[in-house]
Subunit: 344 residues, 4 copies
């Protein structure tokens, strides 16, 4: 399988390279980068010195189409909708890491991303790429919309509860905490300096983060009715990881929540359901595509508290994207993705 | 004012020393420490080399009573109730940093701390030491129960809303994130190693943390009816700071939440209410007794999201204790406590 | 004493404000900032909310001269030599935090800073502000050149050895490790992002750092002959602190190195000489003006290894500058500077 | 190839598991752990949940011998010399991660490790496992002594210079900085707590670290004369990585140091020689078996400054051990070890 990455020099691009180098059936044949065109990617990432990779080049649709079977777009919002129609028409499989193809309704896209969608005819066809929920559709998809990093953690934490109608849909609160790499390598601002983040913790985009609509879209679809959530992201002084703490009021007596989760995720190897009383730690999924889920029932208030841990660069971005590629290309979904976390 | 610290070699004790060295009217005349008895405290904290301090000694009630007017007990749960009756009878002012005198009901104490309370006759007299809420009582108190670190942040975040009956009391969720120093210097376990905490984030004691009952006691008292909350603490890979994100459903239309907070905390200098759209960062209160509060209203779900930032060792422990001492001793509550955060 | 700070919104400026707020005899009467002119400094540093400070303004020499007795210049290299002549002529005491007045020889300045010195007539008068070495001159000075952060740590570590001619001057190697705040708040580059620095360690400016000539100037002066050193700075993933490890071959048998250090620094309260076998930790001087020094003699190779710990923002910048102000203004040098480190 | 790990629950053991799971020709058939006997290793490392591994068991020589072809001993000093004679006699290949078989002279072992060597007859046969230097011997070895983490970084940095007699052997100073995982998971002490290490930097074991003799043994052997070095280790607030800064006076004019290094390490894929002016960062080798080397010549003092970056758990322990296993077993030395660093 010949694979290309658009914008390989960003964090998501670099992480895609790392996963794909470990993939037995994929070969990276094309890397685009505006900043590093004509240079080896190891200029952007000296960690790649010694790896066998093509030089970076300015993006060119003909070159990409000629040299790749699968293309990952990792540049940013607004790019996927420009490039996808052409590449898909040429028979390429297209995985869009940013947000262009996640929301089914172009009006919701406009509201949250402040721009018209220019490929809205592809929105219905594009599959929302949480592999655990859309396995079969992804296998047949030409375009997969890789989900937002916060969205993956939140959706996996809540899916069994909303699908089973076990919780009050008006009671859902999602409190998420992310490592800093989610901001990307191009957000070069005072607030991203080491000195400003180290030994500090804060919330941001309270009651207004762009991942909210895709979370609601998926949860509503699973429950068969509209679900609205309150979602708050926070910044943790660490590089990687998202811990999501989700709260919901139980609608019925759930005697065995672990059983509910294990049944729902049966056969889905990247979701690991921890036993009662064990809480996931982002450290245990660092650098991987795994999602660890724990929970506790607060009997005093009749709420369930679910916690999920992912690597925002792994299951939250590049790992999830490669898992989607595996499904699109007919490989086992775990191919090249099973290495455990680097610990400690 | 002659001041003594019981268990000066723990983190709270060391932090009390730091604040008291900066206090113009307090002189540290007594330091007890089991481990460092007979030695200067700088053996425990080389940061104190060059400071003028008495040697540490084994705790002795007569020595403490003779040499001090005010005594801070910072050893641990179960100690305050043993020492307080005697010291108070000798006319000493007693500030208990751990939990012994926080809960009014000895049955609740037993349930959460697993032991009988042996000085329950003092529970009604002891004042719960969130200075902003119990100003006048603390001025007259012989015993102040310094509040739990999580409790300070949560109570300050929610007090104006519950006191004003502006939120549904059954809807409150408190999601807190703390630096690691809250565990203390004596919790020497694998899970406290640098390597196990760095670059990781997790929840713990979900739906079962001991600070829950004191939060509920205060909020219920403020609201005049029973309030039950869901409370989840998390561990942040940083030394200091607690960021609390509190959620509640609005019971009435609150047009000016900032005004509600500013009115409620008028004249209370350690509570800084940030304007709409600004979020507090624990970094901005690092090493201080300040509490920064921000909020946002999620109109879609009719919830208010309040965030408060404190230093768990400052407003969450030693700073709050010195503020209480100021009130008990007739000083301005800010004396010795106004230095801004060490930043960055 | 009325005090002004030029460029208060940088890290050194903000740290000067923090120290001066704790100073009993200094009042901040003037703050300049290009970015925050017309605004309170708390817009740059929310940690300063609630402090009594003048608004920031665009720098104006007349305003500064009229409202201040002492002026700290914290903007950057090349500014002090423009502003100092005028301000000094108006009778102001001038403390230059950057490098303009550190090097006595304008040719050396040109070589290392790539620009002509435009106030070279003041270079001989300006005093190099390591207070422990130039106490008496600083008391009489109109201009003090605050030393480089690395230079302070290295000079204090080596001064007793070179002044006593106890080491071979051709054998000195200085290996320094600094927290990240030394780069300042305006160095907003990819290499300064949290994600790029966290969990990494590297050297930079190997064999070519600008602090080398001022270290050599001072050591040569102390020894009465030319001293050339090899100096290597490194970046530590922490905000504050410089640990310097200095190596030199012993020229004579030094039986009691601790004694040599204690004699040399007798009466200098900010230099704390640790006993044999104890090593300083930057953590113990975090946020302070102290310098902790330790050492070991490697008998096998006849070398002495000296380690010094400072806070690059404290003894390495703002603390040192306030100590110099104290001396210039006739206060005890420790005034307002004795608070111990925030630990942990 | 059937592989066993003695003491799989320590950090080195866990890291061996991680590397071996990625190895195409090795199968982990035996795991011993005192603490976790009878349990899955995922109880020690939840990061291993979902991996196919045998249960941990108490160490038993017969079981180990029966089920393994290659055995890694990762328990601690003093264990290898007890277990190796028996296992080697049974035809097993034995890789000792701690120090027992590193020093050729049992008197030096006794001096530095404070115990008699009980298998000194095997010392001459055991090969010191820096693969780049002892390639051919390791291929034939029954026992490989995996080198100390600091030693690997220091030896690789200096080998080309001493082998080429390009530096004065009396001038070598090695200043190393290590992440905290080198202390292991069983060093549960106050000084290892997150709070005590975070935001601090210090030296330790100055002029007396146990890795000194093995560094000197190798450098002396390469140079054909006795080399004595001054070696200082430091602790960096990060989990992984060793940056070594090595200093030596040039004995002859070295016009092309990069050429010297590239020639010396020709064909050795894990050593990456950076070009003039580029400095290695431990972050770029995080989680890998690579060693990046940079250098600069300080013409003013005629010294060369060499910097090497490794992961102390990778090239400094488990990665190096697997590389040695590859050589001992006839695989290409890079098998299973080429994945790039997890970045950022």
């Amino acid at each position: 399988m010949r694979v290309g990455i658009i914008s390989a020099s960003g964090y998501a691009g670099g992480e895609l390279v790392r996963y794909l180098l470990a993939h037995p059936h994929a070969k990276i044949t094309y890397l685009s980068s505006h900043t590093f065109a004509g240079k080896p990617l190891s200029e952007a990432y000296p960690s790649l010195l010694g790896q066998d990779l093509p030089l970076c080049e300015q993006y060119d649709a003909d070159a990409a189409a000629e040299r790749c079977d699968v293309i990952f777009q990792a540049y940013g919002n607004g790019v996927g909708m420009k490039l996808a129609p052409d590449l898909v028409a040429r028979g390429k499989r297209f995985i869009d890491v940013p947000a262009d193809f996640r929301l089914k309704d172009p009006a919701v896209y406009r509201e949250h991303y402040g721009a018209e969608h220019t490929a809205s005819d592809l929105l219905q066809e594009a599959v929302y790429g949480v592999s655990e929920l859309h396995h079969a559709e992804i296998e047949r998809a030409r375009i997969v919309a890789n989900p937002g990093c916060y969205a993956v953690g939140a959706i996996l934490a809540l899916a069994p509860l909303v699908a089973g109608k076990l919780v009050d849909p008006d009671s859902i609160i999602i409190d998420s905490k992310s490592g800093v790499s989610g901001a990307g390598r191009s957000k070069v601002e005072v607030s991203s300096l080491f000195t400003e983040i180290n030994e500090g913790f804060r919330a941001y985009a309270v009651a207004g983060h762009r991942h909210t609509p895709e979370i609601e879209q998926e949860l509503s679809s699973l429950m068969g009715r509209e679900v609205k959530v309150t979602f708050t992201p926070h910044l943790v002084p660490m590089n990687r990881g998202i811990l999501t703490t989700a709260y919901a009021r139980l609608a019925s007596d759930v005697s065995d929540p672990a059983g509910v989760y294990r049944d729902f995720y049966a056969g889905r190897k990247f979701v690991v359901v921890l036993g009662e009383g064990r809480q996931p730690n982002t450290k245990n999924v660092f650098g991987t595509n795994y999602c660890h889920i724990g929970f506790a029932v607060d009997r005093r208030t009749n709420r369930i508290v679910v916690t999920s841990a992912i690597d925002n660069m792994g299951k939250g971005a590049a790992g999830q994207a490669v898992q989607n590629m595996n499904l699109m290309c007919g490989f086992d979904e775990t191919t090249g993705l099973t290495s455990p976390a680097v610990f400690p």
